[in-house]
Amino acid sequence: MQITGMKFGHQLLKLVDFPVAETLRASASLDEVSELIQRHGGRCVVKPVFLGGIGKKGKAGLVRIVENAYEAMVAKKELYFAIHEQGNRRVQANGVTFEGFIPSDIEIYVNISASTQHRSPVMTLTTEGGVDVEEISAERKKVITFNPVTGPKAFHVHDALRELDCPAHYISPLVQHLPKLWQLYDSYGLTLLELNPVRMARKGERYLPVACDIKAAFDQDNPAWRRLGFPEEIFSPDMTRFEAEINVLRTHQGQSDVVEINPQGSILPFMFGGGANSVATEILGDRAILSSDFGGNPPYEKMKAIAAITLRHWLRSARVLLIIGGRANNTDILTTFRGIFDALRENIDLNPGIHVVVGRGGPRLVEGMTYARDILDRLQVPYSFFGFDSSIVRVIHYALELDRHLEQGTIELEQKNVGFPSPCFQA
């Protein structure tokens, strides 16, 4: 759950009176943009608006500095629906912002984030911002540790800036403003707050740090972000339709974590436990339609609802339904299998040719397996159930090999030429 850019960053920073670049939305008129440019020394910055956490826009050539309203409108046209690719993510913009240009001879990078090294939040500062912080050598940035309850104080910022040889005339305004960021971080469930760059605007004889870009990551498990009143859909690009449907069922017990891996995949895995999730997704690779963790002892109704949504989305295109987990400590196997296989029974018409592979252990294992067996026998769905005494890795590889075999088309050809054995008419 992230936001980037000043469209919503502007609102966020205003909550703590942190100065931000003057920002107009895409609906601004030619005259309004023109006036903005005039107020900011004849330049403004045009940036595409991406929902969710999209970084490195500058590197991708998606930030334009323009000198008149006409150029601004041309940039708006070019960037409004710009495509940005980062890793395996491909996202499309939906709008632009016009931001007043802040002339500055220095760019500050500041970040407050949770650190596993310190098991506490830390503030990272450098006076060489505007670029990726990873590109800056360790001695040119300062990691500030502080009391995790009270947050970074003015003296922390001061000492760090001095060590970074920050020009003296910038130190006081930064000391005055940067600690404010802790209020945002601490009050709204943030796990990361990054301003890059902060440019130093001249206000008479004084300087004012002005945030020109922002990245903020929120803790999904901390409801404090809702107090911001941001529309929930700004986080929605993080989720596909399927993920969003499942996410409605999310509770603190877990039981419904899913990530779509490859909609063209052919193995539909129901994974139980974070470990099985990690191992199975790694081995299945692109053949997995999704990665999931349905562990945490889900009750019957929830398990069935999750399974029904998953099957409705993916059963038709799947060749193998894989149910995989280690030897459960507490998850009741009968309950979870009842949920899954009742849902399968109700949705089997979507794909009567599915094969089922199960690798599982845990309480009421045999009861769960025999319940599933009885349903699959009645549906005439082929199955292989492995107990926890089989390597979970081998079971996953078995499902993979089965999927490869089915892909070869041997069985599909049989179905086409001979006719698929009808559920109740096998010789």
Binding site: G274, A276, L376, S384, F388, V393, C424
Partner: protein, 902 residues
């Protein structure tokens, strides 16, 4: 903040043994919550009753029952302390928002607190930060959050979770390996895996994998180094966080003393591309702590490449593996290199062991074709017990407007019975359809003659008992559904019904678990059952029963379909031959035959035991309806029984009172099969299902079927016949043959088409519309230039293949063409499947109609009965389905769905 560890933060425990042992005393927060209530009793029993108290806000005075005694429950930690309890370990099962508060409460209220174990998932990162701050300042170790607890296999103690599942004593075997795992599930799974190399465990910690891990690898290794029970440490790691790098760096720097071997597995390379967590909340990598980075940290520490079967090299510090299944082998290699022996003889292996499998006849390559393996104890016993259950075990559910027996395909409008389109049944013997409806599997071809014989015997047997009301109903002008319904309603638990049920139950109990689905003869078993079986129910035996039994025995031998069940029936009857009270030999043989047919379905759990037991009752109903529908006796006393007659011939005789020709039998067979079902939404099916839902017996449910048919459903088939009788009143289509008949039919069709057009034109502008021609057009099969009902097309082509050219049906086809040709219709209407039923029925009546041997009323009665006879198997399937799957009163309509009409 007193601590003596070399780590730059507080660590209270000095060895793994300190973290959980027999002296540990525990207080559980939210002890009566769902998860705790499931886990805590077993944990308390396994750990020797170490849980001294629990907290449930607002529940002072309650108790949690455990196998070693109740655990007192208090409203707060303060109350626990005030009541004199002492504990060093707090376990938190509370929801996320309450966790940090509970940590504070434990720290503030209990000065003796040493550690807290947090089970809760999805604790906010902010709260986790505050928890660490409080705990570090107070000097308390925190395990978790999202931990599944800690277990000490030596002391048989587990605290704060369900490590070892429901059988910790069996799973957690004492040994020399400590396990540190980011996955709680893998703690137990890896403990199982290690046994395959003969290694047990000392202490197992589920670290949790939230963003902050409060008791991380460095702390664990520090404690492992000081734990004399532990000779090596197994670690399972996921992406996110630099806990492992810190630990390994500190060891190399000498800051953290650790001299024991490590065996590590890192998974989750794929997570580097994730934008949000899936699975463990903390398994989200930044740029430098993804799985690749973590693998490199360990490889750098071990100074050897990852272990695999092809590269089994290990270093003195240990080795990394790429999959968890290699952990036992790598551990074995590391320990061997150090001269350490396994803790006990190896148990089992990690090969693929399918406990249950069924490829359902699908072709699979050799590598995928596995054989089932008997599960390890105690699962072998559990599976054997599960397999002792006979047939399918179905969960009761509401079957209102639901069926697993029939359905109508939304696109093709074809009705399916147990997944098979009814059209595909057309040329199957109707007796086979009756059995298929109940067994959900087709009867082998060689058994059809026996099925005919059983149904015929049951119709004869029904006749032997004076029929109660059907003659009276017929003479009073009742419709057939009324007098046949009354007949089945009054049959109750009549002779044979309960006998058949009781005998079948005895046969199942005696044989089911001893024989395969083929029920092959086995003399030793037969002798054993004959010697030990409880006496079977006695009943009346007629000479004709004996004759039928002899006929069926001969047929079994002739068709080579004898089973151990039928041989038992014959031998049992032979032993009783001279006894004053005997089991009816034919009832016994019929039960044996039917159970033999039901065995494949029972063994493959396609039907429940109840359906198999009640099979005979359903067939009795079919026999009764057949007998009661006939105006004259089907099996008159003194006449020779036609044992070889097929059941359709008997039904023909019941309908038409005469013997059928081969061609007529074929046509009637097709008609009956075509009528079997029109889906679960029909009135007749709903009547039967509602009767079942009300808790009625099978005969009463059949009466429900009958009372839900009538002139609009079942009797409406006569409407098309009446229309055809008018059309052909002066034209006998059988007078002509060949081209002359074709020409005559075309002319007649053109004439009727023009008449219809004229009527249609006359009706313009008036309220009345012309009477529609029955059986043409169909809501689904229309809109094309030429419309075809595929069901009719299929049946017509089947008849033509048999050389059966029905003039009335041909007339219908000429008619739809002529209607279009004269402009009466916008396109060529389809001739629908009901036309087939009407025209085939009319052909069967035509001779009697022409000779004046049958009246319109009698013909109407017979058409209605034909519908009822044909619908019987479909109804049987629905009744059996609903009885085995439905719940009492499930057919009620909820109040909110009711409408009040004014």
């Amino acid at each position: 903040m007193p601590h003596s560890s070399p780590l730059p933060y507080f660590v209270g425990a000095q060895s793994l043994h300190e973290l959980a042992n027999r002296r540990s005393r525990v207080c559980v927060m939210n002890i009566l919550g769902t998860e705790s209530a499931q886990v805590t009793p077993l944990s308390n029993a396994y750990s020797g009753g170490n849980i001294v108290a629990g907290v449930q806000y607002g529940s002072t005075g309650e108790e949690l029952e455990t196998p070693v005694g109740p655990v007192p429950v208090y409203g707060s930690v303060g109350e626990v302390m005030k009541n004199g309890h002492s504990f060093d370990t707090g376990v938190i099962y509370l929801p996320p928002a309450a966790v940090s508060h509970a940590v504070s409460e434990l720290c503030v209220r209990n000065r003796n607190l040493e550690r807290i174990i947090i089970l809760t998932e999805k604790v906010p990162v902010r709260d986790s930060r505050l928890i660490r701050y409080v705990a570090q300042n107070r000097g308390v170790d925190v395990l978790g959050a999202n931990s599944l607890g800690i277990a000490n296999s030596w002391d048989q103690v587990r605290i704060g979770g369900a490590l070892g599942g429901d059988n910790p004593a069996g799973c957690l075997r004492k040994g020399s390996i400590a396990i540190y795992s980011n996955s709680g599930n893998f703690c137990t799974t890896l403990a199982e895996y290690l046994k395959t190399r003969g290694f047990g465990t000392s202490t197992i910690l589920s670290s949790g994998k939230d963003f902050y891990i409060h008791f991380a690898l460095a702390e664990f290794l520090y404690c492992a180094e000081n734990d004399p029970r532990t000779k090596a440490v197994l670690v399972y790691i996921e992406p996110g966080g630099c806990y492992e790098k810190q630990a390994l760096d500190w060891i190399r720097e000498g800051r953290l003393p650790f001299s024991k071997p490590l065996i590590a597995c890192v998974t989750g390379r794929w997570k580097s591309s994730l934008a949000r967590p899936c699975g463990h909340a903390g398994a989200m990598a930044g740029g430098s702590d993804d799985a690749f980075a973590k693998e490199a940290w360990f490889d750098d520490y071990f100074q050897v490449p990852p272990y695999s079967a092809s590269h089994p090299q290990v270093g003195p510090r240990g080795v990394r593996v790429t999959t968890i299944q290699d952990l036992p082998a790598a551990l074995g290699a590391v320990m061997a290199s150090l001269g350490e022996e396994p803790d006990f003889p190896a148990q089992g292996d990690l090969s693929l062991k399918p406990w249950l499998l069924n490829h359902q006849g699908r072709p699979l390559p050799e590598s995928l074709r596995l054989e089932p393996v008997t599960p390890l104890a105690p699962y072998d016993r559990q599976l054997a017990e599960a397999n002792r259950l006979v047939g399918a075990c179905l969960v009761r559910e509401s079957m209102r407007n639901a069926s697993s027996a029939t359905r109508v395909d939304a696109v093709s409008q074809q009705t399916e019975l147990h997944g098979k389109p009814v059209l595909d049944l057309i040329d199957r013997p109707f007796s086979g359809t009756c059995l298929f409806a109940l067994l959900r599997q087709e009867l082998p071809e060689k058994s059809i003659a026996l099925a005919d014989s059983l149904l015929n015997w049951l119709s004869m047997r029904a006749e032997e008992r004076p029929l109660a009301v059907s003659p009276q109903g017929r003479s009073s002008g009742c419709t057939p559904n009324a007098y046949l319904g009354a007949e089945v309603l009054l049959s109750g638990n009549s002779r044979g019904l309960q006998e058949m049920v009781d005998i079948t139950n005895s046969l199942i109990d005696a044989f089911f678990h001893e024989i395969g689905p083929e029920a092959l003869p086995d003399e030793a078993l037969l002798q054993l059952v004959l010697a030990t079986i409880d006496p079977l129910p006695k009943g009346e035996v007629s000479l004709r029963d004996r004759a039928w039994a002899a006929h069926c025995s001969a047929l079994l031998k002739e068709t080579k379909t004898e089973t151990i069940l039928t041989r038992f029936a014959e031998r049992y009857s032979a032993l009783e031959q001279n006894a004053p009270q005997q089991t009816n030999p034919m009832t016994l043989l019929a039960a044996a035959i039917l159970l033999g047919w039901a065995l494949p379905s029972l063994k493959s759990r396609r039907i429940p035991r109840q359906t198999a037991v009640e099979l005979g009752v359903h067939l009795c109903m079919m026999g009764l309806v057949t007998a009661a529908g006939a105006e004259a006796p089907l099996w008159p006393e003194g006449e020779e029984c036609h044992f070889e007659q097929d059941f359709v011939a008997t039904l023909f005789r019941s309908l038409f009172g005469r013997q059928a020709t081969d061609s007529e039998r074929f046509v009637l067979n097709a008609l009956l099969n075509l009528t079997v079902s029109n889906g679960p939404g029909t009135l007749s099916v709903m009547g039967a299902k509602q009767s079942v839902s009300a808790g009625n017996s099978i005969p009463t449910a059949y009466a429900g079927f009958m009372t839900h048919t009538g002139v609009a459903h079942g009797g409406n088939g006569f409407k098309a016949i009446a229309w055809l009788l008018d059309v052909f009143e002066e034209h006998d289509p059988y007078r002509e043959t060949g081209h002359a008949r074709d020409s005559f039919l075309r002319q007649l069709a053109e004439e009727k088409a023009r008449e219809f057009l004229a009527a249609k034109r006359n009706a313009r502008g008036s309220v009345a519309s012309p009477e529609p021609i029955p059986c043409i057009n169909h809501p689904v099969f229309r809109g094309q230039a030429v419309n075809i009902d595929p069901r009719e097309e299929r049946l017509r082509s089947l008849l033509l293949e048999k050389g059966i050219r029905n003039p009335f049906l041909e007339f219908y086809h000429d008619l739809v063409e002529q209607l279009y040709a004269v402009g009466a219709t916008r396109n060529v209407f389809c001739v629908n499947v009901d036309a087939v039923i009407a025209t085939l029925s009319l052909e069967l009546f035509w001779g009697q109609w022409q000779s004046g041997a049958i009246t319109r009323d009698a013909m109407q009665d017979a058409v209605f009965r034909l519908f009822l006879y044909g619908r019987m198997p479909g109804i049987a399937a629905e009744i059996a389905d609903h009885r085995s799957r439905g719940a009492d009163m499930d057919c009620r309509t909820p109040n909110e769905e009711l409408r009040h009409v004014t």
